[in-house]
Symmetry: D2
Subunit: 414 residues, 4 copies
């Protein structure tokens, strides 16, 4: 194993970091002020996006770009360090056109889209001209078992007619959102794994209504709100089907690996911010005659956070390396592992950070709550920890011996 | 020990429960809808408060009422079961005039107030005609060490002139709030324990400005918002001093025991709501062919929650019993113990509840986030866990032997 | 609730404590030296037992004594404080004839024994003249589900013929052991709950062989070793049946409540010893210029230990109170709760104690390992934590509403 | 980063694994039987060692071999996979001459030894003809702060005269042990870091007495017992000094990195054995109508174990890679990290394994207790977790901003 970063990784991550430090970080308070008081993004954001694109820092999260598609052509692993930097601010990914759910939607379209679908929906996403959304979770059923999905997509002539509710659909209420990828049941009577399909639904289709934007643990995501949607006889042409009918999960699968890995990479970046905040606070605050940094409880919290981040980062890097090398199947277990490890770990660091900060730690003056709530959501989104733990268990091998015969056991000889 | 509830405890708690079930619970959605869309409390709340008072369910949290003061004269322990019921909804305590910070402020006035102060400020609180606030925490210093407080209360003739910032001051922005009890430094040059005093500041005193209402972990407390305050040359007469100058902590101390115990009692009530919610969800939701209640992980979460609630409740009851019997000094260690145990425990149950619920668990459609955020705040408010753990440690006795001589050790005889 | 100890409890526990301090504790090193080098108990132990009996400190753990049976007639709750004192040394219970498995065996005989069985086996146990053993766990099956037991007890005329293996049978190899209570299948074809019976097997019955004494996590229990037994055509008369054939679990049930509660009481005593040891060590040892007691990590360990002990003790006391008042059925849930809480809690304190002590903490010079191993075993013995957690879950009530209708939920009104 | 194993790593680890499977594993019960009943190693062990050496599988843990020294010249990282295999059995390292404390002693001699010392002590160790020991920890002082060491090494003419006690000195009582490296104070009045020296003490030096072999959490290490030693006027010539007088910690430092890393590698191997044992047991045992592997609690335990092992292994590999590339200074933080992570993690897995196994899990019939106790010792040996956590904290950088100015904060603009 070689733990040094490649030349290319270093180069890209340094350039992203330099741009981040020079152009994004100084504008963060301005950004926060804007999104705290009005909808959409501040108008100067487009300028930053143009600049990033001109610098070649664009679509860094897409490992498989066609010859004419704009982007850096980084592998998932090479994206790692840059992704961590982007994870330091909630809106940084967007500047580099690396944000969810657009990136996973682009990946889905790359793999399952027809040439027409690509021209109409993928191209403008790649160019950063529009936004998109992904609608899967339903309020009525335990959606962590995706085969439970009840959302109806009835075939009617050359159309699908969509009826049902979705929620925690991220991106749908963004002013530039032009389409949604929606998962639903095209054949409720089929076998559980062949029941569901994915279709493209333009945002302005009649019958589609955004009921409300939702919070999660008190956080309304300012870059990509989670919405509740009602579909009443929403009609889309059959040509909007992604992949084959009944193969919705297969279509969705291509996005899962990269999406989860990139989420984890960004989460590591936010964890680094938390550690920096704790270090600063602990050095400044004094109680009972000592700065907090002199209490070994605080030292331990920070050291444990460091440990956890280091080991999680190696796991994430390896999952990315496996995905790049062996594809979905080869990386499956490791993607589940990081999906379990990273969010709960960063949630724990955020909880420690609250305690180090005191009252301010729970306020909106620091990013702690925002990171916390985001991580808490990640422990459910894309499959709750429990589903992934079961997957991990199932990929464990049984040894070739029974306990009684185990060569490692030394039973008493009567 | 006798673990059965007294006749009086049972009677009161049953009557509170009956009133809660009949009059409060059915109005909760209405209440939530109101506070989600406009300031203050719904107009029908006053009617409920009148009803409660007529039923003799009023001021149940005040163990020491003077002969002419209205209330039930329950001991802290007897209040326990009723307080749990009130903790089931964020606004229930208010109906029975048992809410913070008014109750702790009443206790402070009962112990430290002059007859004039009592007539002017305590009486209308007891009658439920006004609201009040308590201002202690400062943004600029680590306030968990109260001797750090820098807020200036300079004596000038027959006035104190107040300057400085406070935040997470609960109740100040309530439309009916008429005064604040403010902690500050009257003699910054004195010994750390004699530097601070408590004074009454009428809400409409010139120079006092509410800067903003704060959230904690995404929660803006709808019954008693936490505010940030600026004091610029705020003048109050010396007669507004509570207790003696320089004895602010002594004045504050009387409120700490009951306030913390009542908080914990209410927290137990909210924990019971969480367990009920988990039980209901686990019985209804299905994944991979089984209801959640058939997964032993879910069973374990609920069983561990039950265990934690049961043992915490006994601790809380004992702390109340000690406070009733032996006063502040006798209950000191046990109050610290429950202050550590209860909030983190209920926070943990809320975290489990999110996982059982899935997406809805983080939404505002359930009380889970609200309970979670409240508990997280409690781990900092009134002293962070770490300060209480140190207190508990310090009250531990050293045995009369050294390790070498310990009769429990069996050193090798060479 | 009244948390003060009764007069009787205080009196007994003070007398036990005085005797313990004066007569047992000073002899502990002598005892340890004896059992470390030879079998059985030191010869002076019988003298101590006589003394204890003369002082009326005898059979304190038997709540239901017949009119002519010797003992103090304490309720389970009243036994609590005395039991904690006994738990401070591994051999103290024996001095007061309160040790397992003899006490649970006596309880079993009290409830299920015929007059003849009582005369032959119960009476000498009550007098402390003999020892006994209890054989349930089998190496071949998961015995935490007792209906799995395969041990064969075939009826043959007026005899049962016993065949099979048992292990972790405590007490069988004690030189004074005169009989075992053995659980086995008298009717393997019956319904799972009617398959098993309990019979008395005299220690010297031909065909019964003690294969070896076992250790658990490195500990060989010096007061009541855990043995592996082989039964080959061991014959006992049908009159040795305890209770009715096929009702073995019912017979065993009477012992479970008191046995588990007393184990937990003693465990609390050992936890107090660990806290004392940590306090002593932390006050004496110095690293990097400070005594360990000045590190807040160590303070926290001790404070958390104190918290855990206090809350567990209240639970244990309540379980005892419930058992005394409502019998087995009423105390069932609470016995499961303490069975889960106490051993893992004390195991955790022991783990902390090792860390406070450093190298000595793992040695045999302190009781830490012995307590640790004993607690670790208790998490399996009498049902593993997992079985009890499931019991606790099952006794949880479902609320009368579904999540959708829950009055505590506030769903969005579309 | 490249997570694939090098050709060389794969080759060596496969050859070690093949030899292990063919020659060691089948003899484990025989080995266990021998060491359970008599001192030293079974006579056939030397034959295995010869075979291993002939196969070139010898001294694999020594990264810096001189030109004429026998061994494989693997880097620390390359040793990783082979070390894990060796960690699967307590005696496997010895077969390949890679066991502690001989390997760390060899490293110490390589770096600090004079040519004469190397000829006399290093060469026979390299050849596997003798054994050695390392004596540092003292019963009287908190040895986790090494500057506390009081052991006296008084210079007297051309000799040092040694007096004092050591304990948990591993290897001293092995029949082939020929010398000890002993740490002590040559100049107690010097600055704390210049007080101590390391000297070689031949095992048969008059005045050196092995008081006893010690257990740790019930385990007496059968391959390298931990002894308590008394030194009474033990004289060694000044030429036995290792490195310079007063530079004892510097001399010891060279061994720390490799020793800790190799310990962690072996610990990972033992964790894999535990997982295999749990998988086997969970597949075979049945309770309440299901095999244990069908309970999601058991699935979770195994999955969490897998996660923990995977992330710890990556950390260990990176620490080795850093040590190989950047030496002691560059790997310092990461060595502390794995020192904290690995032992407590494997201890936790062992605790789970006990629970999966039930009674057998605590017995000596499985390796669970032995692994558990070894891991528990590792959390203290070579510096307790707390010391390493402090080191890790100290290597954390403070950010260049204060909290008030942090670009990540968004304070309210008044």
């Amino acid at each position: 194993m070689d733990f040094s970063a490649s030349e290319r990784t270093r180069d890209i991550s340094e350039r992203v970091k330099a741009f981040f430090d020079a152009e994004l970080l100084p504008r963060h308070r301005e950004w926060a002020n804007w999104v705290g008081t009005q909808a959409g993004s501040p108008p100067w954001l487009d300028g930053l996006r143009d600049k990033a694109r001109q610098l070649g820092l664009w679509n860094l999260a897409l490992a498989d770009l066609a010859i004419d598609e704009p982007g850096t052509r980084l592998s998932n692993q090479e994206f790692g360090a840059a992704a961590e930097t982007m994870g330091r601010l909630p809106w940084a990914s967007e500047v580099f056109n690396c944000h969810a759910p657009d990136t996973p939607n682009m990946i889905t379209l790359q793999h399952a889209g027809t040439p027409e679908q690509k021209a109409q929906w993928l191209r403008p996403l790649l160019e950063g001209r529009i936004r998109s959304a992904f609608a899967m979770t339903e309020p009525a059923v335990g959606s962590s078992d995706a085969t439970n999905l009840q959302f109806s997509m009835r075939r009617d002539g050359q159309d699908y007619v969509l009826n049902g509710s979705k929620w925690y659909c991220s991106g749908a209420s963004h002013p530039r959102c032009r389409f949604l990828i929606v998962m639903g049941a095209t054949d409720p009577a089929a076998a559980r794994n062949q029941r569901h399909s994915a279709v493209i639904v333009p945002s302005d289709t009649p019958g589609l209504k955004i009921v409300r934007d939702l919070r999660f643990m008190g956080l309304q995501n300012p870059t990509s709100a989670a919405s509740q949607l009602e579909f009443s006889d929403v009609r889309v042409p059959v040509s909007n089907l992604l992949g084959q009918e009944g193969q919705g999960f297969k279509v969705a699968q291509t996005r899962l690996g990269p999406a989860r890995i990139h989420h984890c990479m960004r989460a590591l970046g936010s964890a680094e911010v938390l550690i920096e905040l704790m270090m600063a606070r602990a050095s400044e605050r004094q109680t009972f005659g000592r700065v907090l940094a002199d209490y070994d409880t605080v030292q331990r919290w920070i050291a444990e956070s460091r440990i956890e981040v280091e080991q999680a980062r190696l796991l994430v890097q390896r999952a990315a390396w496996l995905l790049d090398r062996d594809g979905h199947a080869g990386a499956w277990r490791d993607v589940s592992i990081i999906k379990v490890v990273v969010p709960r770990m960063v949630q724990g660091i955020a909880d420690r950070a609250v305690q180090v900060f005191g009252a301010m730690g729970g306020s909106d003056d620091t990013p702690i709550h925002s990171i916390f709530a985001h991580m808490r959501a990640m422990r459910i989104a894309d499959g709750p920890d429990e589903v992934h733990l079961r997957q991990i268990f199932r990929m464990e091998n049984k040894p070739g011996w029974s306990v009684a015969d185990s060569p490692y056991n030394t039973p008493f000889e009567v």
